[in-house]
Amino acid sequence: MDFINITIEDRTGERKELELPTDMGLSLMEALKANEYRILATCGGMALCATCHVEVLEGGDRLGPMSDPELDMLDTLPDAGPDSRLACQLRINDDMNNAVFRIRGEEEE
C-alpha cells in the first residue's frame, strides 16, 4: 500500500500531519472524516453543499484542474478565495504529497 503525507490545519489553527493511502480511491473529504475531522459533508460528495470547503495553503498547483460543478459551487460561496477547493472533489493521490490544507467549511454540530 502506498501512502502520502499531508498537513491539515483545523478551524482553531492547529496543524496535524496525516498519512493517507493513495490506493483506496478516497477523496480528501472522506479521508478527513475518517480521521475524525468534523466535516458536515451533507451531500455525500457531489459538490452540492460546500461544507467540505478547504483552502490549499501549499501544493495547490499540483492538484489538477477543477471540474465545472466544483467551480460553480465555489463561485456561489460568499467566503471562497483563490485557493479554495472542495475536499470531496480532490482524490488522494501522489500529487497531493506534502500539501497543506486549512479546513473552512461549516462545522458538524
Binding site: 452540492l48 463561485d75 456561489t76
Partner: protein, 334 residues
Amino acid sequence: MKTTDLCIIGAGPVGLFAVFEAGLLKLRCHLVDVLPQVGGQLSEIYPQKPIYDIPGFPSVNAQELVDNLMEQIAPFKPDFTLGERVDELSRQEDGSFIVTTNEGTQIHAKAVVIAAGLGCFEPRKPAIERLEDFEGRGVAYMVRNPELFRNKKVVLAGGGDSALDWTLFLSNVAEKVTLVHRGDSFRGAPDSAEKVVRLAEEGKINLILKSNITRIDGNGHLSEVHITLHDKTINTIHADYLIPLFGLSPKLGPIANWGLDVEKSAIKVNTEDYSTNVPGIYAIGDINTYPGKLKLILCGFHEGALMAQSAFKYIYPDKHLSFKYTTVNGVHGF
C-alpha cells in the same frame, strides 16, 4: 383538507418505494415535496447519472429508476402535493397528524413518514455583521415580488447566474442597483455578465468588484451597507434592500422544529421499525441516523418495508397483520 393514511414528506426514491410497501398493506399515501417533480436528488441533480448498487440492476440511470418506481407504485394511486414545503406538523389528540405546507395545503394523516433526504435547500448566508438583524427588514435572500424594489436603492451580492440575472432585471425596476462581487470576473452566463458590465460602464448600475459586504446598519430597517474594498478601505452606501445571492445549501429546515430527536442534521430512529421519538412519525432514507447508518438508496428501501409494518400497527392497533409475499399474492392496487 385532504385525508390519507400515510403522509410521506419527500418524494425521492425512498419516499416513492414506501408507497409500494404501504400499499401492500392497504395503506393509502400522500406525498409532499418541495421540488416541482418527483424523484428528489435523482431527478433534480443527477438524472442521467448511472447508479450501480440497486440490487438486480447492474446499472440504472437515476431518472430511469425514478420512472420505474412511479410505474411500480401506480396501482396504489398515491396523491402528490409538489412544489410545496411542509412547514408544520401537529399531532392531534387521537394520534393522527395535520401536515401544513408553506402554501397552506393541509393533509390529515394517520401517520407521517419523513423521507426528506438532505432536507430542504435554503439560501446560504454570508458572514455579514448584523445580517440577521435585518432579515425581513431590508435583507431578502430571494426575489419573490420584484415590485417591492420599485424605486428603491438595492444592493445585490454574489457572482453567480442569479446575481447577474436579478441585477439585470432590477436595473429596470429599482432607483439604484449596486452589485458587489468578491471576484474580478463572472463565471455565470457570458451574455448576462457582458450586459452587467455594459450597464456599469453606461453608469446605469454600480458594479463593485473584488469587494465584500462586511456590515450592515439601520434604524429598524436597513439603511446602510458597508463594503470592504480590495484595498481594505470601507465604502458605505445607502440602501433600502440587500439581496445576498450565494446559492442554496441543504438544511434540515422546518423539520428541526417538530420535537424530533435530531443528531448532526439527521433524525434519530429505532432500527426495529424506523420510528422516531414521536409515536406515529417515522423517518427513512438519508434523513435518518442510527448506529451503522449507510446513506444508500437500497438501505432506504429496506427501511421503508419495516416502517410500513409498524405504521400499520400504529394506525390499526387491533387488527392482525399477516405478512404476505407478492410472489404468492400478487399486487392488488386500489
